[in-house]
């Protein structure tokens, strides 16, 4: 017999957990759902548009009654569970209906708080929580004129706006002197109040309700100061409390909410809980995005996968009042140790405040121009060090000096339709906006698929996201969900990396099976990433999967636009000899190489080689002492050096030798992205070490180490890591840095964005301050190099992967 799973609470969190569970494994449980409301599951968020009249109830159904039957789920709609008998593992509803469970899921949501004043139970006094309340309000709007909304928070203002749109006279009364004090600071709240007043709402601030008056129906509201205000409808929207009555009566441990662990279990391990009713690590949540994250974790455990953990969420809010732009996230009241950056432009009705702590964003409030909300939120969630962005932070993402997009300086909203957003694929703003509208696109991936924008180098991703945000508008909660690795999975890079280690998964197949991949064998995005993660996690053990590599890495040469390939032999530290040059010259002639080019990386590129000739040509190169330069790989590329102390009158150290030693140590390592190194002999820096992933600048007293530079799409100067005394130390620090990066960065994340994401302080801590940690990292790098430093060209010249280079057959 199947195990029985019972859900109490047919709402947004509980049903999301069931849907997530069905996605993973649809047949391990017999599922029964109890819901106090006599409906299927609807989108509670959308009650506001139902109240304004923009939507009707059927539009907001998520799972209608038929859905439950179609999915083999027993729905007890309109049955409120009264008690849980934990001994016999049974729940019993008010009408006597009961169900036994092997696992129980509690998602009872919240109850609106009712201020305990006389008259609170009078007809005409409602809360704003479910469709019943909305129908009551709509009914009242039909027959009556005057509404009073108690509470100037998010819900109160949405209710007030709805009633106003239904033609009522609406007064909002609020205990404090600022609206939405949990989300806004005074400056933003004042702007909001003025805008709402302009639309016709009235406000009574700093008043305390003392009684609701009336006989057969509400007639007026009286305040502590003795004043009264006439009312035919009173909406109480003063807050919500986690609905823990049922859990408490069953003896489950509760504080403000039902206390759950990181696996969403209550103190009774058979009973899971999620949604607004729970308290996790001291926090309760009142927005759907965190609840949806909880639902994923819950489903992961119910499906007996058992690796997901919920560690808390950050959430952001917007107000769903058409025409009002407001964004709030995190901790925006500056506490001790915090700094505020503020921009206020009363003329434009724009206010922005970003709160920083240790150079990381910990909160933001925006009014009037919320375009960069998602950007701040991302920076906040990733805990990005913003020290370098600080000056321009408030002017928004579009104002960052971006070498790749020098012409796009203004906000996307004010861009012309003909402005090119994606330079790689030549896609303009107008085309993207049109596609979003016509094809109903909601996600970055969809925009990428339909327009190609942001699908190549990705440097315009932020702009495309901003366009999505400004075009879609709408919903006030931005999902703070981690970005999934690709459309084949819901998991983010970091989750996958840690699952590979935790669950000791050692093949791509195992990862795809265990983590429930949505496609049979992945795609061109996830397969290379998984191959790399596995290779890094299990050096010497994991067998590289050639079919999971992009052609360049599979063929160990760069494919060219005409289908031919280029060959770049390694030239250690950029130093060569006449004999080497002769050998290259002869080989180039022998294979009739059409173009020989001195690259920007101090070596020689032989372009236009037909694939079939590659192994033979490599054989000749091997015989002359060359190995692959990995010019094609997410791997160690070049180590540029200058001539240094041996020749140069300014040289302080033997930069060439240090560069060659670095290259001999590091070559062959697969990395998250390409990695370039350089060593300059003095601060004149002729090897351009300060725009490399790892750069060394020799000085009189030793060696300065620099990290995270990039000379490509978006030029970034390195951060200074530390100074060291000896070449031996240069090698050790470099090995540790490279290993830390390859073990922790996301696939296709170069060192520059990685350092920006994790922060220089973090890298310093790992590589400089923690001496024993550095030695361990360096040792791990060297260990894995044992298996990596095998010249792929020599192997292939001897016949490895022969099939890759010859046709299956010639016909005709």
């Amino acid at each position: 017999m199947k195990e029985r799973l019972v859900l109490v609470g047919n709402g947004m969190a509980g049903m999301r957990a069931i849907e997530e569970l069905l996605k993973i494994s649809s047949d391990i449980y017999d599922i029964a759902v109890f819901g106090a409301e006599p409906h299927g599951n609807y989108n509670r968020i959308m009650l506001s548009p139902v109240l304004t009249g923009e939507k009707k109830f059927p539009d907001i159904m998520l799972n209608d009654i038929a859905w439950y039957a179609e999915n083999g789920i027993t729905l007890h709609a309109g049955k409120e569970v009264e008690r849980i008998e934990r001994g016999s593992r049974k729940v019993v509803a008010r009408d006597g209906t009961s169900a036994n469970y092997d696992r129980l899921l509690l998602a009872t949501g919240s109850v609106p708080f009712i201020i305990p004043v006389p008259g609170k139970d009078l007809p005409g006094v409602v809360t704003f929580r479910d469709i019943n309340d909305v129908e009551a309000m709509l009914g009242a709007a039909h027959h009556h004129k005057r509404a009073v909304v108690i509470g100037g928070g998010l819900l109160g203002l949405e209710a007030a706006n709805g009633l106003l749109r239904q033609g009522m006279d609406v007064t909002v009364v609020h205990l404090l002197d600022t609206l939405m004090e949990r989300q806004l600071d005074r400056a933003a709240a004042d702007l909001l109040k003025a805008a709402l007043e302009e639309r016709g709402l009235r406000f009574l601030m700093q008043v305390q309700t003392e009684a609701i008056l009336g006989d057969a129906r509400v007639r007026a509201v009286r305040f502590r100061d003795g004043t009264e205000i006439a009312a035919d409808l009173v909406v109480m929207a003063v807050g919500i409390r986690p609905n823990i009555a049922l859990a408490k009566s069953a003896g489950l441990y509760c504080e403000r909410g039902v206390v759950v662990s990181d696996t969403m279990q209550t103190y009774d391990p058979r009973i899971y809980a999620l949604g607004e009713c729970v308290q996790h690590r001291g926090q309760t949540y009142g927005l759907v995005a965190p609840l949806f994250e909880q639902a994923k974790v819950c489903a992961n455990h119910l499906a007996e996968l058992g690796f997901a953990r919920y560690t808390g969420s950050m959430s952001s809010t917007k107000l769903k009042v058409t025409g009002i732009d407001l964004f709030s996230a995190g901790d925006f009241q500056s506490a001790e140790g915090c700094e505020e950056i503020v921009l206020k432009d009363a003329g434009r009705g724009v206010y922005k405040k970003v709160v920083l702590k240790n150079n990381r964003i910990c909160g933001a409030v925006m009014y009037g121009d919320t375009l960069d909300g998602s950007w701040y939120f991302q920076l906040m969630r990733d805990s990005t060090d913003v020290a370098n962005l600080r000056e321009k932070l408030l002017f928004g993402q579009a104002h960052l000096g971006d070498a790749g997009h020098g012409n796009i300086r203004s906000r996307v909203a004010s861009m012309l339709d003909s402005t090119e957003i994606c330079g790689c694929n030549g896609v303009c703003k107008g085309a993207i906006v049109k596609a979003i509208g016509d094809k109903k696109l909601f996600t970055l991936d969809e925009v990428r698929a339909h327009t190609k924008a942001s699908s190549s180098c990705g440097s315009c991703t932020g702009l495309v996201e901003a366009l999505l945000a400004s075009t879609l508008g709408g919903d006030y909660s931005m999902t703070p969900k981690k970005r999934p690795m690709c459309t084949c999975t819901d998991h983010a890079h970091d989750e996958i990396r840690s699952a590979i280690l935790d669950l000791e998964m050692k093949s791509i197949r195992a990862v795809m099976d265990r983590l429930e991949w949505k496609s049979p064998d992945g795609c061109n995005k996830c397969r290379p990433a998984l191959n790399f993660y596995l290779l890094t996690a299990w050096p010497g053990e994991y067998v590289d999967d050639n079919q999971a590599r992009f052609i360049n890495e599979r063929a160990h040469a760069n494919i060219q636009r005409d289908g031919s390939y280029s060959v770049v032999p390694r030239i250690w530290g950029g130093e060569t000899t006449p004999a080497q040059l002769k050998a290259i010259a002869e080989i180039a002639e022998k294979y009739r190489v059409p173009t020989v080019h001195i690259t920007g990386g101090q070596r020689i590129d032989l372009l236009g080689v037909v694939k079939e000739n590659l192994p033979a040509m490599w054989g000749d190169l091997s015989a002359a002492g060359f190995v692959s330069g990995h010019a094609y790989g997410k791997a160690i590329r070049t180590v540029k050096t200058c001539v240094g102390r041996n020749w140069c009158r300014f040289g302080t150290q033997d930069s060439t030798a240090v560069g060659i030693d670095l290259e001999k140590m590091a070559w062959g390592a697969w990395m998250p992205h390409k990695v370039k190194l350089a060593v300059s002999g003095c601060p004149r820096n002729c090897a351009e070490a300060t725009i490399k992933d790892f750069g060394v600048v020799c000085v009189d007293s030793g060696y300065e180490l620099h990290i995270g530079g990039n000379g490509g799409v978006k030029v970034r100067v390195t951060d200074f890591l530390c100074g060291v005394k000896t070449p031996h130390e240069v090698l050790e620090y470099c090995a540790a840095f490279l290993q830390c990066y390859r073990e922790e960065a996301h696939y296709l994340e170069r060192t520059a964005p990685w350092v920006e994401r994790v922060g220089l302080a973090y890298v310093r801590q790992r590589v400089v301050e923690d001496e024993s940690g550095r030695k361990i990292l360096a040792a791990r790098f060297r260990y894995s190099q044992q298996f990596a430093q095998v010249d792929p060209w020599a192997e292939r010249a001897k016949g490895v992967d022969r099939h890759e280079f010859i046709p299956l057959k010639r016909v005709g």
Binding site: K439, A449, H450, T451, S455, S456, S519, P520, D521, G522, C523, N524, R527, N546, Q547, A548, F550, I551, N552, A555, I559, R561, G563, H803, P807, L808, K809, R810, V811, G812
Partner: protein
């Protein structure tokens, strides 16, 4: 497999091109013909498909792409092409000519008569 049956009737110029095992799973091999290269793909589940080795976008060699599911991603600019029809995965538009293939006792046979996906066979 309707399409394949239909194809077998029209194709009578089968050429044996080698063993199934010579084509890597989730990979491809090239058959060189006077009229141009043909890419022969083998999926994870050992299905075999053949397309003209020429991406409808800018002629990239599809044989060098990554095979996933019943699609191949072109190595040049990441277009995705349906292996069974040769048609580009929407929203891209275009089509690579398709060649009938069949596998018999581990040997692969190819017909050199191209089938251009018409509207009737498109999914």
């Amino acid at each position: 497999m309707n399409t394949i049956k239909k194809v077998m009737q029209i194709a009578d110029d089968w050429t044996e091109i080698g063993a199934l095992d010579e084509i890597p799973r989730q990979g491809a091999r090239v058959v060189k013909c006077a009229s141009g290269d043909i890419a022969v793909f083998r999926t994870l589940n050992d299905e075999v498909f053949a397309l003209r080795d020429c991406c409808p976008h800018q002629g990239g060699p599809l044989s060098q792409g990554m095979v996933h599911g019943r699609e191949v991603t072109c190595p040049l600019h990441d277009w995705k092409i349906h292996l069974d029809t040769g048609i580009a995965v929407a929203p891209d538009e275009g089509c690579a000519a398709r060649y009938p293939v069949r596998v018999k006792s581990g040997r692969v046979f190819l017909s050199l008569t191209a089938q251009v996906a018409g509207t009737s066979t498109s999914p």
